[in-house]
Every structure is written in structure tokens, then in C-alpha cells.
């Protein structure tokens, strides 16, 4: 599962509220779609849990369902307390899990 964390805006100061965009390459199968050739249902496969941590402290926990688009985006606000590491742990219903980190480096 390829992932990407983006902080918007790119430069920010401590105390500023920024947007954290987390994206993942994931099929987000609903389990309701049929294989065109065989007619068999394609099993559900979707990200079901995402945790945003800052310096190992939980900021936001998400329970995600299959209605999110393919290659989903999850965006939250975050009040930058200072420098540190933002970590996003995403898990799908098949047990696949991926950890993505991004350094938080406020200016000034």
C-alpha cells in the first residue's frame, strides 16, 4: 500500500492550525461489485482504520468504511504544538497495515 502525507500549507509556525492530508493507493473494494468475466463477487477490501499520532500521542482515530473512493484521501486539521514526528498508521480489513511518518518542522 503506497501512502503519502501532505501538510498544507508547506511552511507553518508552531501554534498554527494546518491541514494534514493522508492518501493511500488502495482499491477500496465494496464487496458488492462483480467480476465482469466470472460474475463472482469481488471480495471487500478496504482500509478500515487510520490513526494519526504526533510523537506517539493519538490525535485522531478513524473508522473507515468501503464508501470512500478508490485511492482514498483523509484530511484533518492539526494544531502544530512544535517540532516532532507525525505518524499515520493505516490498516485494511485484510490485515494489511502500513505506517507513514512525516517530520513536523515549524518555522520561527
Amino acid at each position: 500500500m503506497k501512502t503519502l502525507i501532505k501538510i498544507k500549507p508547506k511552511t507553518y509556525t508552531a501554534g498554527e492550525i494546518v491541514k494534514v492530508d493522508f492518501m493511500a493507493m488502495h482499491p477500496m473494494e465494496t464487496g458488492m461489485r462483480k467480476n465482469k468475466d466470472t460474475g463472482a463477487l469481488i471480495p471487500a477490501e478496504y482500509i478500515d482504520e487510520v490513526k494519526f499520532m504526533f510523537n506517539d500521542q493519538l490525535i485522531t482515530k478513524m473508522v473507515i468504511w468501503e464508501s470512500l473512493s478508490v485511492n482514498p484521501l483523509m484530511s484533518i486539521s492539526f494544531k502544530v504544538p512544535g517540532a516532532g514526528t507525525l505518524k499515520v498508521i493505516a490498516k485494511d480489513n485484510k490485515g494489511q497495515s502500513v505506517e507513514t511518518t512525516k517530520a513536523i518542522t515549524p518555522k520561527g
Binding site: 492550525i17 491541514k19 492530508d21 477500496m28 465494496t30 464487496g31 458488492m32 461489485r33 462483480k34 465482469k36 463477487l41 471480495p43 471487500a44 478500515d48 504526533f54 500521542q57 493519538l58 490525535i59 485522531t60 482515530k61 478513524m62 473508522v63 473507515i64 468504511w65 468501503e66 464508501s67 470512500l68 473512493s69 478508490v70 482514498p72 484521501l73 483523509m74 484530511s75 484533518i76 486539521s77 492539526f78 494544531k79 504544538p81 480489513n93 485484510k94
Partner: protein
């Protein structure tokens, strides 16, 4: 995403809606495979625990009025709140009223967020309401909705 088969899938899901167990928390009930159908009333009840839902201007939902492609519909939810440890938004729940599984995401926030916001992209099986429920730290549930028309675009 093949649009037609996607729509068909939702139709089929609606046709074979299953009886749902009573659920204390929507978050706890998860199946590892297969469709998770859940209708709107059941999902709302699971979130609020039967408490009343109060439509509120504090919850702002931003989604296109018309989406040319139901597979990718941008949605942003913002809830007015000071986000202090005494007064904050505990969770934002996003639902699509007519999808096979109406639940899209349950976002559990903390004061560290600084602002109650959630942005995403969702799949809509057809024209329907996108509903946001804000679970406040005082135990109340505020909500807002927006209708999104899903149309058919031009060449594939």
C-alpha cells in the same frame, strides 16, 4: 472504478438487505469480508445511541451539488467548536443516506486537532444526501446534510 458495475452493485445490495443485529457501536461491528449493508436509520441509531439528532448551522458540509462521477465525490465537514479539553467535537460521522452501507467514516477527534475538520472523497451509488453528524463533548449530536445529484458524464 467501472461506474456501471458500481451502480449495479449498489442496486443488488439494496435488493438483498439483510436483517441487522442491534449494535452498540457502529465502530465495533466489522466483518472481515463481504458487504457491510446498513441502512440509514440503523446507522444513525448506532452512532447516537437513540439520542436526538439536532440539525445545526454549526455543522458545515461542503460537497458538490452535482457530481458528474459518483465514484469520486469530494466532501468536507467543518464543525464550529473551540476544541478545548472542556468543549470539543468528539467525533465527526460521515454518512451517505442511500449507499448499501451508509457509513463512510467515523472520525474520532481530540482537542489536539485545533479545529473540527474532516475532508475526504466518497463513492455515491446515486443521487442522495450526504449527512454529517457531530458528536459533541457535552453528549449532544448535531447534524447537517447536503443533497448531491449524481449525473452521468460524457464519454467514458
Amino acid at each position: 472504478m467501472e461506474r456501471r458495475s458500481f451502480l449495479k452493485g449498489f442496486g443488488a445490495a439494496a435488493a438483498c438487505a439483510v436483517a441487522l443485529p442491534t449494535i452498540a457501536s457502529a465502530a465495533e461491528e466489522k466483518k472481515s469480508a463481504g458487504p457491510n449493508e446498513m441502512n440509514f436509520e440503523t446507522a444513525v441509531a448506532a452512532i447516537t445511541g437513540g439520542k436526538a439528532l439536532m440539525p445545526s448551522a454549526k455543522v458545515k458540509i461542503k460537497a458538490p451539488e452535482i457530481a458528474e462521477n459518483g465514484a469520486v465525490v469530494p466532501v468536507k465537514v467543518t464543525v464550529e467548536s473551540p476544541m478545548t479539553s472542556k468543549d470539543y467535537v468528539k467525533a465527526i460521522h460521515l454518512l451517505a443516506s442511500k449507499n448499501g452501507n451508509v457509513r463512510c467514516a467515523n472520525i474520532y477527534l481530540t482537542p489536539a486537532n485545533g479545529e473540527a475538520f474532516f475532508g475526504t472523497r466518497i463513492k455515491l451509488g446515486g443521487t442522495q444526501d450526504v449527512v454529517a453528524i457531530a458528536e459533541m463533548s457535552d453528549g449532544t449530536f448535531l447534524s447537517a446534510k447536503q443533497n448531491v445529484k449524481v449525473t452521468i458524464g460524457g464519454c467514458g
